[in-house]
């Protein structure tokens, strides 16, 4: 009898530990959201619409917001077509040598230190051009975006039942027609999810922009070959400043960034079962 009790006790302790550690694991997110809101909201409320549209010296982050959207848009333009085609290739040739390497390469690039991508782009684009630019920042982000979207495309394609493939091929269609006209449209939803999650990810990236985008906070971006700002980059620079006023701006900017991220991420996540990050 006492032996049984010892076992029951052990189980109780174990369950309590598991519950407590789980709570501890997700606690930081709530603390982060609460802190960012509590510290960012008064800043935005005080400065009003100017915070979103004004330049840095006016106490706003307008150019950084515009820069983030510009960079995200350009990186999508550069990265998405390549990512989609690579994902299709990895799906269609899973057992060929190149197909297997492609899959492994995508997995490695998914995990790659993003600062190294930034330094690479600096060397091949910023140094020859002689200036930081929006296009360099976008290229760095595109390199980070590509494996995400490719992996999602690959996964989405794999979920299509094999019978559709058989049916399409038995109609005598070519491989290109089967994949681009029949199967790819069926995977639209999954691919789109990957695209949006990839965009949410690169919109929040900082390290690859450090030596590529340059930063521009006193005027709105007007050329893709000129330096451009971004919200994460601005926050990084403001946190390192000793001035308390800069920290306040950083909190406000973080709230804006958090809202952009949650605004893209949560709706997708709610409409979907699993996410691979």
């Amino acid at each position: 009898m006492s032996r049984l009790n010892a076992r029951k006790l052990k189980e109780k302790v174990f369950l309590a530990c598991v519950g407590a550690l789980t709570f501890l694991a997700i606690l930081p997110l709530f603390h982060i959201i609460l802190t960012v809101t509590a510290k960012g909201l008064p800043v935005i409320a005080e400065r009003g619409g100017k915070f979103i549209t004004g330049t840095l010296s006016e106490g706003g982050i307008g150019p950084a917001v515009a820069g983030t959207f510009l960079l995200t848009f350009l990186s999508a333009l550069l990265g998405l077509p390549v990512a989609f085609l690579v994902g299709l290739y990895a799906y269609e040739f899973p057992n060929s040598t190149i197909g297997r390497w492609t899959k492994t390469l995508l997995q490695i690039m998914l995990e790659f230190p993003t600062i190294l991508v930034g330094v690479f782009v600096m060397q091949v684009l910023v140094v020859p051009m002689g200036t930081y630019s929006a296009i360099a920042g976008a290229l760095a982000l595109a390199i980070i975006l590509t494996p995400y979207v490719a992996v999602y495309t690959h996964e989405a394609m794999r979920e299509i039942p094999f019978t559709y493939r058989e049916a399409a091929f038995s109609l005598g269609l070519t491989r290109a027609k089967v994949l681009f006209r029949v199967l790819a449209p069926m995977a639209k939803r999954g691919v789109l999810t990957g695209v949006l999650i990839g965009l949410a990810k690169v919109a929040g990236e900082t390290a690859p922009l450090l030596f590529t985008a340059g930063g521009l906070y006193e005027s709105y971006p007007h050329s893709v070959t000129k330096p451009v700002g971004a919200i994460p980059l601005l926050i990084y620079q403001l946190v390192q400043s000793p001035s308390k006023a800069d920290h306040l701006t950083a909190w406000g900017a973080s709230l804006v960034l958090l809202l952009i991220f949650l605004g893209i991420f949560v709706p997708i996540r709610l409409s979907l079962r699993e996410v691979k990050l």
């Binding site: 694991a25 993003t114 949560v266």
Partner: protein
Amino acid sequence: MGDAFKAMTFPAVLAVFILFAGMLFVYFTHAVPAFHRFGIDVYLKNVWIAAENPEDEIYGVAAAIWGSIYTSLIAIALALPLSISYSIFVVDYAPKWLKNPLIIISDIMAGLPTIIYGLWGALVLVPFLREHVMKPLHEHLSFIPLFSYPPTTGYSYFSAGVLLAIMITPFASAIIRGAYSMVPFTYREAVYALGATRFEATRLLLGYIRPAIVSGTILAFGRAIGETVAVSLVIGNTFNMTWELFAPGYTVSSLIANQFGNAFIYEYMTPALYAAGLALFAIGLAVNLLGLRILGRWEENVKA
């Protein structure tokens, strides 16, 4: 034969491969001057003497490599119990209505912009850790070498490790949870049929997914070692090669983030930073390949 599909997709695949090879090539060629000048010492020594005169420049990035590995190890040590518990809780014990919210929370944490972790870490977490963890430990247990460094600013290996642990827990738990939920249901039935308590059952089932836990840990380590901005904001950015948890330090990525901007003034600093980047490249590659390999093998075994 004219396969239009191949003709359209293969160039994209080729472009990605060339890009990757190009990255390796760029890092290697730009690091070469540092190897010529300092030899293997660039990795083994902990010195950082920047001078106008190239003759006087000496660089060794050992402290940064040490910092990258040490902070990632601290992060893993803290994240592992959290992510295993989380996985067990979500799969086995969480009531149905709580499961999905918990998974969504974890996904949000994994995707949250790292700069937000950095800002929160630098302005909220570090002051908290210094007052409530580091100072008490230093005051009462400073005879243990780990705690002997006085936590004056709080920016330290320890702070970086804790912040990284928070950031990689959702990532590690996604892999472990995936594996844990893949354990065939008959195994659970069998264990409970033997009269095991839930603790005993979980312990047994965890043994079954041990390879997945190992690879999840390795992949999370790979992610931690590459993190840049959040770490550079809380680690203190000082060349300090030590076990002492509360000492400020450096990591390879924070070194590059901090020094690259003005490295071109000096002749050998840029090559030294490229050499450091190359080391990070190599460690990251090896770690990720190993992790993916273990995970792949385990999944094959389970499905077979």
